[in-house]
């Protein structure tokens, strides 16, 4: 803490220079504290609050690309609610998120339990597991796209040669149910490492004594998992599921690369439909309205999950 210049005067020492006065002002708690937050605040305002505000404004206007618009109230929202493609998209998003999230949660915990074991090349394996998460999605999805290709599908080729499928095999990206299965598969493949590694961090932090104590008391592996590990993992799982819900709901790349929302809009998600309507179709107002429909859904999810975490 700097010495006040009054004290200096009393002590008969020369008054502080300009620099020292600035420093003294800066070092006051209320100035210094806000000063530290300021850079983050500027970033948040410029990169989050401003675009968000613009999106809300666009969604309430009849803005078209290249043409000025005016305020139209909730007209865009009424228009999209009346549109069959949008209703289809809402349904797709829930099916997609529910299935993908369940698979990721179950498989992710399972994978984490495997990774926590002491095996050889532990580090190498843990690193390799992260790969799908690290590779840029657009690139890895292109790989998947090729695997699901109608003519050259390696998935079908393998399955047919193993005798699991009869030729020519399903048309992955051309039939609604298969296309949905394909985008979910890729999403699970990509999102699993995040789930597994974060859960692993939670697992590692559980003291081994609990597990050992339960074992001494005669609890089997399932009972130890169910009554010891799982309850202790809950806070971590809740946070991972929260994040994953957000990532899954707002997915864009996978659907855009694999199906562009087809066949017949049965794989459109909010983000891809918003892109198609707002940027390709030029209807910025409706595009913004579609993407903002995500907001209340995600906000509700965040609210309940955070409350659940705090309660624990």
């Amino acid at each position: 803490m700097a010495v006040g210049h009054r004290a200096l005067e009393i002590a008969g020492l020369p008054g502080p220079g300009r620099l020292a006065r600035v420093r003294e002002w800066w070092e006051q708690e209320h100035v210094f504290g806000y000063g530290l937050i300021l850079p983050a605040l500027v970033l948040l305002v410029c990169l989050v609050a401003y675009p968000f505000g613009m999106a809300i404004y666009f969604s309430l206007s009849d803005y078209w690309v290249g043409s000025p618009g005016g305020f139209v109230g909730l007209q865009n929202y009424r228009a999209i609610l009346g549109n069959e493609t949008f209703r289809q998209t809402v349904q797709n998003s829930f099916v997609f998120t529910a299935i993908a999230l369940t698979l990721k949660a179950v498989l992710g915990v399972w994978l984490a339990l495997l990774l926590v074991r002491r095996v050889r090349f532990k580090r190498l394996i843990r690193g390799a597991v992260l790969l799908p998460w690290v590779i840029p999605t657009a690139l890895s999805t292109l790989g998947w796209w090729w695997m699901f290709d109608s003519l050259y599908s390696v998935v079908n080729w393998t399955a047919i040669h193993l005798g699991i499928l009869s030729a020519p095999g399903p048309n992955w990206l051309g039939q609604s149910a298969y296309a949905m299965a394909a985008v979910i598969t890729v999403n699970v493949w990509r999102g699993l490492p995040f789930f597994a590694i974060t859960t692993l961090a939670g697992l590692v932090s559980i003291p081994r004594e609990f597990d050992e104590a339960a074992e001494v008391d005669g609890a089997g592996p399932w009972a130890r998992f169910r009554y010891v590990t799982l309850p202790l993992l809950k806070p971590v799982l809740a946070v991972v599921i929260l994040f994953s819900t957000i990532f899954t709901f707002s997915d864009f790349n996978i659907v855009y690369v694999l199906t562009r929302g087809g066949p017949v809009n049965t794989t459109h998600l909010f983000a891809t439909l918003a892109y198609q309507t707002g940027l390709q179709g030029g209807n910025l107002g409706q595009g913004a309205a579609i993407s903002l429909c995500l907001f209340p859904l995600l906000a509700t999810a965040v609210f309940f999950q955070l409350r659940y975490v705090r309660k624990d």
Partner: protein, 412 residues
């Protein structure tokens, strides 16, 4: 201003400006190489640098929207579809260039001109169009003892036999632009419309469209395979080049690709004019232009550059580089030797005789573009071939078309 170009030296005020041109990754890459070469040549002549940026064609709309919104970016761009209408009040009127170049070249094809001429003037120079003929594997047709189809009904008949032979035909029914190009063409050939000539009334729900959809359904069931539902713009190319497919409706790019990669299948591939229907033959070729943003600081330079690209020797070199993919929108250039040189290209210029902008008989507009951008027509057919009753699929499309028409731009 043209004077100093002709003299070949730069005026005193030209201090190494940069002209930027935003274009697509051409399906025949050699065409872009030639374009860049000419851009460099122009740069030397006009004492400026010309930067040509290219991206995948499906990414262009988003980028253009961003440039229009932020009022900054490139000076000029490759306009496609209804861009001149969509950005009508953001684009420079280039009537002077259009007139000059048009006069030199014997006039513009009206279908190409219509795509660039808005109510408030020419918002782009027609640059090239892409013919959309029937592309087929002669060996498969010969094996089945068939000639190439002259009508869509013949295609259905031949396709059934070819599918039995193991060589189905293929028209995409999916979220890609080839799906629209073919739909418009088939629909017009059967006398069907999507919107009325007034440009305001949906006309998709009609007896004629019903015939079109029924035709698609039969073709899908008996002459194609479900993979057509998942194709992107390259799907039908791969299908033909794999040796499995016997017929597709597509520009000459598969043939060019086979030639470039020295695939033996190139010898078997040939083209024929787009099939006809009860209402004659009609084609909906992609039509592309060059437009200049109003916010550009190099408007005059951009106009000079466009004229430079249209100089006979430059335009010729560019067509040759694309190996007949780029068709000139100018009538005088239709007898360019490239089409006569290769018998497989000879019939291509004829496609211009029955080409229309999408939306026809209505004038092109941003609303027509929206019908394509939202894949309404492809989805209508996809719904029907997947089992939705044709009448319901048409009613669905009618509602969607009405939505697209509602968003007519207010230009002022």
């Amino acid at each position: 201003m043209a004077a100093w170009l002709a003299l070949g030296r730069a005026p005193a005020f030209a201090q190494k400006r940069e002209l930027t041109f935003f274009s697509w990754n051409h399906f025949v890459p050699a065409s872009d190489d030639e374009l860049r070469k000419q851009a460099e040549a122009f740069g030397k002549l006009a004492n400026c640098t010309v930067r040509v940026d290219t991206v995948a064609h499906l990414q262009m709309p988003a980028k253009l929207a961003a440039e229009a919104q932020s009022q900054s970016g490139h000076d000029m761009f490759r306009s496609a579809g209804a861009d001149p209408f969509l950005y009508e009040n953001q684009l420079v009127n280039i009537d002077d260039v259009v007139e000059k170049v048009g006069k030199q070249g014997g006039g513009w094809y009206s279908f190409a001109a219509e795509m660039m001429r808005t109510k408030s003037g020419w918002k782009g120079v027609p640059w090239f169009w892409v013919s959309f003929p029937g592309t087929y594997n002669m060996a498969h047709f010969k094996k089945a003892g068939l000639e190439h189809p002259k009508t869509w009904d013949e295609l259905l008949h031949h396709g059934k036999l070819l599918k039995k032979q193991g060589n189905p035909v293929g028209i995409p029914i999916s979220h890609c632009s080839d799906a629209h190009s073919t739909y418009w063409s088939v629909a017009w050939s059967f006398g069907a419309k999507v919107i009325e000539a007034d440009g305001k009334t949906p006309a998709v729900n009609s007896d004629k469209t019903e015939r079109v959809v029924e035709w698609y359904k039969e073709l899908y069931k008996d002459a194609m395979e479900p993979e057509v539902l998942s194709w992107d713009d390259a799907g039908n190319n791969r299908f033909l080049l794999s040796g499995k497919g016997s017929w597709i409706h597509n520009p000459v790019s598969p043939y060019n690709a086979a030639l470039a990669n020295k695939q033996p299948i190139a010898d078997d591939i040939n083209h024929h004019n787009s099939p006809a229907g009860p209402a004659g033959a009609h084609s909906a070729p992609p039509i592309l232009g060059m437009s200049v943003w109003k916010f550009s600081k190099n408007i005059e330079l951009a106009k000079e550059f466009i004229q430079f690209l249209f100089r006979k020797e430059n335009f010729d070199a560019w067509i040759v580089a694309s190996n007949a993919f780029n068709h000139p929108p100018l009538k005088n250039l239709a007898d360019h030797p490239i089409w006569a040189r290769n018998p497989k290209f000879a019939m291509l210029p004829k496609e211009a005789e029955f080409a229309h902008p999408r939306g026809w008989p209505a004038k092109p507009s941003d609303a027509v573009q929206r019908i394509d951008d939202n894949y309404i027509l492809a989805d209508m057919v996809a719904k029907a071939v997947n089992g939705m009753p044709t009448k319901r699929a048409m009613a669905w499309a009618e509602e969607q078309v009405a939505n697209a028409l509602k968003g007519q731009l207010k230009v002022g």
